[in-house]
Symmetry: C2
Subunit: 206 residues, 2 copies
DNA sequence: GGAAAAATCATGGAAAAAGGGGAGATGCTT
DNA sequence: AAGCATCTCCCCTTTTTCCATGATTTTTCC
């Protein structure tokens, strides 16, 4: 029984590459492709698939959102994230949103096939080894856990608001904002806001 | 006379995709591929090519550096940059380093062919229009031009150093660091360092 | 060689953040 | 009921940033 595969990626060359990699595989059926989240959901209204290869960056919405939505509507579809290098931080969110695994865009045909077949069995597939060997990525995952309020404050700080302005906007006292700020600095182990923002943006928190 | 094309990209799927796009084109000859800058320069020592399709992000060094090096050693080779979306800031540097143009990774076959043929005529090819139409890139195109020194200071600020520490590290006075800081804030039209760093990281400057 | 751009330095004052405490009020879980 | 996390608030001091204004030297480029 052949596995039906659909792909969502805004880079035509990646679509073309994967298509080319898979086109002579007997156990894979290429059911379609999309370059936007919207056209992906449209497709799913009228067609079925077993596996979706999903880029994390899409033009109209993030792969993370799309992943949640697809999983909510079609829990039987397995989603395999597609990732370029500097996006490890998003991967756990992708998995949290229901993805069954991910492969890197420089994966070989064997890895890709392995990934598709593994998730079809209901297992998780991660091509993490490839990532770490190809360049020394600091294994992070030590991204601090911050609360909803802290994230909110962090966003406003990154927008350039002062503690005072944030306090007004959130209807809380400046002292509270200051406390959140201090907690953020402590959680990120950052010397000041500059270094905090850098890490937060890189890690996808902002 | 067929055009010899070589590609350097660390994403095998992109290589595969472009290969697939070009394989049935009579006027294109695929001479080889590399996933690192090192293997690219190795290849060029023993083989020739007319055009190099070059990714801006490579594992061992940036496409910008590789571009300068290749152009210095083989000025007759035309280089066409390959870009994903959020890297507009690097493109002008790529052009400064000798590239003849660039195409986006979501380009169609026609655009890619057009790009290759245009640069072979010694002209510049930019697929910028496609970028702006496909998604509304917010600011980006007006990424401020900052100087080498400013970038250096910006990096240290983002690492969490204070003006004082930066001054010591660069052997300049605190007043100078402060001036650079002010100029950066002005160029980015940022209210404070927090918002500056956010934009700078997103735009790929850090 | 001259203009423009970049890098350097300075003073002084207002505003904001960083760093150190402590503490009460929720609500959720065990 | 006790424990824990979260959100809330406050005080104090020091450090740092932000802002305004002006100037000199070096580099770069035409």
């Amino acid at each position: 029984m052949a596995i039906k595969v659909f792909i969502v990626d805004d880079h035509r060359m990646v679509i073309e590459g994967i298509h080319s990699l898979l086109q002579n595989e007997p156990e894979i059926v290429w059911v379609g492709q999309a370059t936007t989240a919207a056209s992906c959901t449209d497709f799913l209204k009228h067609h079925s698939t077993d596996v979706i290869l999903m880029d994390i960056n899409l033009p109209d919405k993030s792969g993370i959102e799309l992943c949640s939505e697809v999983k909510a509507a079609y829990p039987e579809i397995y989603i395999l994230g597609l990732s370029t290098f500097n996006q490890q931080s998003f991967i756990e969110k992708m998995l949290d949103s229901g993805a069954s695994g991910y492969v890197l865009k420089n994966a070989t045909k064997e890895e890709l096939l392995d990934g598709i077949q593994t998730v079809m069995k209901g297992k998780q597939y991660l091509s993490f080894d490839a990532a770490t060997t190809l360049r020394q990525i600091p294994l992070q995952s030590n991204v601090p856990l911050i609360t909803r309020r802290e994230k909110e404050v962090l966003g406003l700080i990154a927008d350039g608001l002062t503690n005072n302005q944030i306090a007004q906007q959130l209807f809380i006292s400046v002292a509270t904002v200051d406390t959140h700020r201090k907690n953020l600095l402590a959680k990120f182990d950052a010397k000041n806001i500059a270094s905090l923002i850098k890490v937060a943006v890189k890690v996808g928190l902002i």
